[in-house]
Symmetry: C2
Subunit: 231 residues, 2 copies
Amino acid sequence: MDSGQAYIFDVFGTLVDWRSSIARQVADVLPQVDANAFALDWRSRYQPAMERVRAGERDYVPVDVLHREMLDETLAEFGVDVPDRSIFARAWEKLGSWPGVSDQLADLRQRALIAPCSNGSIALMTRLARFAGLPWDTVLGADIAQNYKPVPQVYLSNCAVLGLAPEQVTMVACHNDDLVAARAAGLRTAFIARPTEYGPDQDFDLEPAQDWDEVVTDLAQLATRPSLVSR
Amino acid sequence: MDSGQAYIFDVFGTLVDWRSSIARQVADVLPQVDANAFALDWRSRYQPAMERVRAGERDYVPVDVLHREMLDETLAEFGVDVPDRSIFARAWEKLGSWPGVSDQLADLRQRALIAPCSNGSIALMTRLARFAGLPWDTVLGADIAQNYKPVPQVYLSNCAVLGLAPEQVTMVACHNDDLVAARAAGLRTAFIARPTEYGPDQDFDLEPAQDWDEVVTDLAQLATRPSLVSR
């Protein structure tokens, strides 16, 4: 294992299938609604909620707070309610990973430090790691920077607390915009397509939008090129 | 596993035998010095160095920075030098654990979230976890608070990023003063004796100084009482 090299990961979409996992939990509690539409609506409120923090209009709060507020809005939108909203908000700790992710990360971990760099909180990501079998060395992400991606400080602070320079760290994501920001901050970049994250009709992020440093179809392919391993 | 309960750990002394591990590494590089005395001298500069940060006389720096400065002082004290001081300072990432610690933590992890709450940095603790086989859910500690124990904010921030109230979190240490501070911050407390941390003549921290919530001789005994498991 090369502790002078780390891979940090986007999680929602890149590693876990939040849409069908949330939809399944919604279907259990709210059989009367279109569970897939409910999941998409809930998630659609994510970027606008974070944007207020990024813009400085609101102090940083862990994403769990946003998830609860977004849930209130989605429940109102669908004209339904649940007995205990706080438990339902913990649905984001119970997301299944895409096939093979757990074993692929374990494989990669033989060669580099690995950690999530998610907008999810440490509290959420720690529990999700248990649920989805993500074998992290440590949990990083938005809480470390007290701000949300794609603000540069999130990427930079995550590198810094690992004791690494940005060029020693590779950001892995299925979202091109995450990699644009990571590259601008000086990190290496790796893309993996997750073409059904938003459903069968997804028409974006199907391919790499730039010449990312690595493009893989399996996370175990990361860091296997000789030039990387020998660093 | 009860994710509404966490155990956070002091590491240097409580989980790893820093003294003999450092002495062994010193002996390899500086055969002419008393390696045990060198290790103790290096470590003796730890609390004064952190105290400047706690007192507000110096901005927070990760402990790795202090370790390098302390190394310079100890080398000067012993009138010796090493070819590459930065590599030698990484000696603190290569400390062996007390017998059984790795398996005991893995056992405890079946029942609760576990994380280090050390004055060591995330960078150091992440690598030490690999070396010593400490199966953390995530690495917390001083970096989260940007300050050093026993400042209350270190304990409180560590609980907060786990999404837990202090009373849901147990601080585990072999140092009574660490537990005094944790209890004052509202955390539960657990003591384990490490009577040779400083050597065979150690005459402090041999026994619990207060009625700590748990006193164990094996970390696998933590969280096994029915009142805790059923929470």
